[in-house]
Amino acid sequence: MRAGALGLVSFGLDPLFLSRAAYATCRPTVLPSNNRSLVCLFQRGAVDGLSMLVPHGEESYYRERPRIAIPRTAVVDLDGHFGLHPRLAPLKPFWDSGSLAVVPAVGSPDGTRSHFDAQDYMESGTPGVKSTTDGWANRYCQNAKEHTDTPFRAVAFGPQLPRIMAGTAPALAIDDLRTFGVGGRAVAGDRLTRAFEALYEGSATGLLATSAEESFEAIRMLKTANPSARSTEHGAEYPRGRLGDSLRQIAQLIKAGLGMEIAFADMGGWDTHVNQGNDQGQLALRLTELGQALAAFSTDLGERMRDVCVLTMSEFGRTVRENGTGGTDHGHGTAMLVLGGTVAGKQVAGRWPGLAQEARYEGRDVAVTTDFRDLFGEILTRHLGARDLSAVFPGYTPGKAPGVIR
């Protein structure tokens, strides 16, 4: 079975990644190394947290979802109460080795059920405030000065810089590492690059000058480090599609040592209003891709994973009860996965409010017991070493950290 094979490979080649004792003490007094990186994966469209992380120990889960519940026999059990969707089985070895933590009932304090508002809030880091112009990842880069600024410090995979990375700190949007740069038909890429560089060196001022400098520096660094030439290691197999492509390239950047601190990728297809399916079906297909991509990424990076933390996020969860069309509607709390060498794994973090009617948000949705800023904030502080979150999440008084980072 494919999932098992991936797991074994990972076990065999990751002694450091798996040995947690070395990192168990002394933090956060020891500043995290400059090699640390955070990979954010946005599941756009609001993933059904209850299918990703199944509360199979709860009767009401099966009562409310006669057609779409994941059968107990199929769930990949984690702790007797929660289990992973069967298509996330490739992640089970990471749970067993203590590098995967799961956070149920996480989300925004804002009650909006609008995708666009909720995504906006999760990326700006200011729920309820629409006028924020930059994203929290960018504000982190603006404020954490001790980390070396390289053009690759914050990289988003996709044609545009996402909201989460927008702001005054340098951030790169890369569609494809292999085509990043200037190229032409009339003139060779190198020559064209030199020409534009000379042009901007001489005549640009202000931001145009510094951004151009960063671009050409990035092109040069890519040329020297040539991350695209880094082959996938340890037999990892990335699934076909944009997510797999993005994660493979993020791994290449990490291997090339270009100073990337925050990477971002996203995937759509989670807005399952109709015929969501259970252990089979359309949601299962998306989770297959997610599970394979995450497992391939961890396997590929091998012991380098000790400095990497992968965080999945989604704007909100979905209704506890299935709707009339075999799907789920927009809800509130969802689930997030945290994977990596610094993760205090093998635990269900945060407080689970349960699915009892009175415990639900507005009587219908999973309540939020972990503010997403407490989760993100803990990772920024304990994994990346952020000293001050007040500028990253302005106006927010941090609550209890879910304790996902050792």
Binding site: D120, K130, L207, L208, G269
Partner: protein
């Protein structure tokens, strides 16, 4: 105080003022005007404007009474969207929705679409869905085509300004179906008129009411009137188009943005209490059910009849739809509004951080004219700050401004496919796709980042080689094929930067051409460098 008059004289005169080197030539002024109240020069246009007199041309732009340039009629006829009425668009949408719902298989496919290739997605769509998508994809392209080709350039700049000020995100549910009429019927006829009219029109537009949720905002506890069984069934059949659950109370979304973004500004002096009161006043302002057309409806049953107070002004109990009108008038007339929007106009037209004096002049004109946009613009465009040398080339172009000005400067002709609008999106400014209601930003730090600059360079090279999809360029018409590189660079300078290119840039381009023996290649190279270079990023 004499300086503006001397300046004005210089701008009106057709001949360059060689005797006064401190003042720029009419041609320079024409270029500046073209960069700010237009989307840049087209071949020969700066000279024609300089001959006409720059201020005369500016006043002609201000005098436009209809947004669309009559000369564009043939071009616009290629866009079916413009001949598709809002009700017809809505019918197509409803049919596409019904297909989606009745055909389970199609429905499942639709939700899994993100995983499919675009071709696969296209194949699985129902004919109605495909038709709708085709029609709606014309909306962003229309922005580009009009901006490139219209003679009514200031009108297009203002259409962009107002559709951005009153931003609608096309991706939000049914808002995309309402967007075309929002642009064509709500915004474009009012771009140079009274601000209050524009404000009221947007407040009553289905697009805004859906986008900012006012359509669902009702007095808490209010119940719609009971309908007969048949009516209920009919309604149930119509409801799927609005996927929200039945509303249960107040939604403050529009009320807040109305004050924060559309009128007073975030520091305009309102409180959370005012937001709630405004939301109460606007309860019942809603949208007709999609099956019954695309218009505004006032639902008396949903309206909060109690007394309200906004910004210290009382709205007595028993007011209906009219108190909403009164509220909008009050907000439009508020001094904070005059100041906030004048500041935004100056930031667009003069400088990212406009001088107070310029904003004050605009505010005075706003108050004098009762918020006549045309008069406010007239004062800004005639102000010394607008023409001050310090503000020339002081702004970085947005992706839309860059793309449109690049196509214009080479005399390019865009086609009616959505490809050019798509390219603007890939440069970072997808049209009608700004999610948040604040619209695209106006400051250079929001547009200049390393990946984005490289993309601009690539677009420039493709355009210079006539290889940019969606536009055709007749290079032979605009530049000579010559092996004299100095002459080539001079011609490129004249075409792209109106002869204002720095000596250094000219030298660097010429150096880079060294060794390029093919004159056609050299031409594309020099032109691409000029358009992708730093000077053309500014305006």
């Amino acid at each position: 105080m004499t300086r503006p008059y001397i300046l004005a004289a210089a701008l009106l005169s057709a001949a360059p003022l060689a005797a006064q080197p401190a003042l720029t030539t009419p041609r320079d002024s024409a270029l500046h005007a073209l960069n700010r109240l237009a989307y840049g020069a087209t071949p020969g246009l700066a000279d024609r404007i300089a001959r006409e007199g720059v201020l005369r041309w500016v006043d002609r732009q201000l005098a436009v009474t209809q947004a669309d340039d009559p000369g564009l009629k043939g071009e616009l006829a290629k866009f079916d969207l413009l001949s598709t009425g809002p009700d017809q668009l809505l019918r197509t949408y409803l049919e596409a929705q019904r297909d989606r719902r009745t055909d389970r298989r199609a429905a499942a496919a639709d939700s899994a679409m993100a995983a499919m290739s675009p071709q696969e997605r296209e194949r699985r769509m129902s004919p109605e869905a495909r038709e709708l998508r085709g029609l709606l994809s014309q909306a962003p392209q229309l922005v580009v085509v009009r901006a490139v080709s219209s003679e009514h350039q200031l009108a297009e700049v203002m259409a962009d300004f107002w559709s951005n000020h009153f931003n609608i995100f096309m991706g939000k549910n049914i808002a995309r179906v309402y967007l075309p009429s929002y642009i064509e019927e709500t915004i474009r006829p009012r771009i140079l008129g009274r601000f209050e009219d524009l404000l009221v029109a947007t407040a009553r537009s289905p697009a805004m009411m859906v986008y900012l949720d006012n359509a669902q905002s009702i007095m808490p506890g209010a119940e719609p009137p009971r309908v007969g069984r048949q009516g209920a069934r009919r309604r149930a059949a119509a409801m799927p188009a609005l996927p929200q659950r039945r509303p249960t109370g107040l939604n403050e979304n529009y009320a807040r943005e109305l004050m924060e973004l559309h009128t007073l500004g975030v520091d305009g002096g309102y409180t959370q209490k005012d937001v709630t009161e405004v939301a109460r006043i606007l309860t019942g302002w809603s949208v007709a059910r999609p099956a019954q057309g695309s218009g505004f409806v006032f639902n008396g049953w949903a309206h909060d009849q109690g007394a309200k107070t906004v910004l210290g002004v009382g709205f007595p109990a028993g007011g209906g739809e009219d108190e909403g009108r009164r509220l909008l008038r009050m907000l439009a007339d508020h001094p904070s509004t005059a100041h906030y929007i004048s500041g935004k106009l100056c930031a667009r037209l003069v400088s990212d951080t406009p001088p107070d004096g310029c904003v004050d002049l605009a505010v005075a004109a706003w108050k004098r004219s009762g918020g006549e946009i045309r008069e406010v613009l007239r004062v800004i465009l005639h102000s010394p700050d607008f023409w001050a040398p310090a503000h020339r080339a002081a702004k970085v172009k947005s992706p839309l401004e860059f793309m449109v000005s690049a196509v214009r400067v080479v005399g390019g002709v865009p086609d009616s496919t959505p490809r050019l609008a798509g390219a603007v999106g890939r440069l970072g400014q997808p049209i009608y796709q700004h999610v948040a209601p604040n619209g695209y930003p106006e400051h250079e730090e929001d547009w200049v980042n390393s990946g984005a600059l490289l993309n601009r360079m690539n677009v420039a090279m493709m355009l210079a080689g006539n290889r940019l999809p969606g536009v055709s360029v007749d290079l032979d018409r605009i530049l000579p094929v010559t092996s004299d590189h100095a002459a080539l660079v001079a011609a490129v300078d004249r075409l792209v930067t109106g002869g204002t290119m720095s000596a250094r840039t000219r030298r660097v381009i010429q150096e880079q051409l060294a060794g390029v023996t093919d004159p056609v290649q050299a031409r594309a190279f020099a032109l691409g460098l000029a358009i992708g270079g730093p000077e053309f990023q500014r305006q």
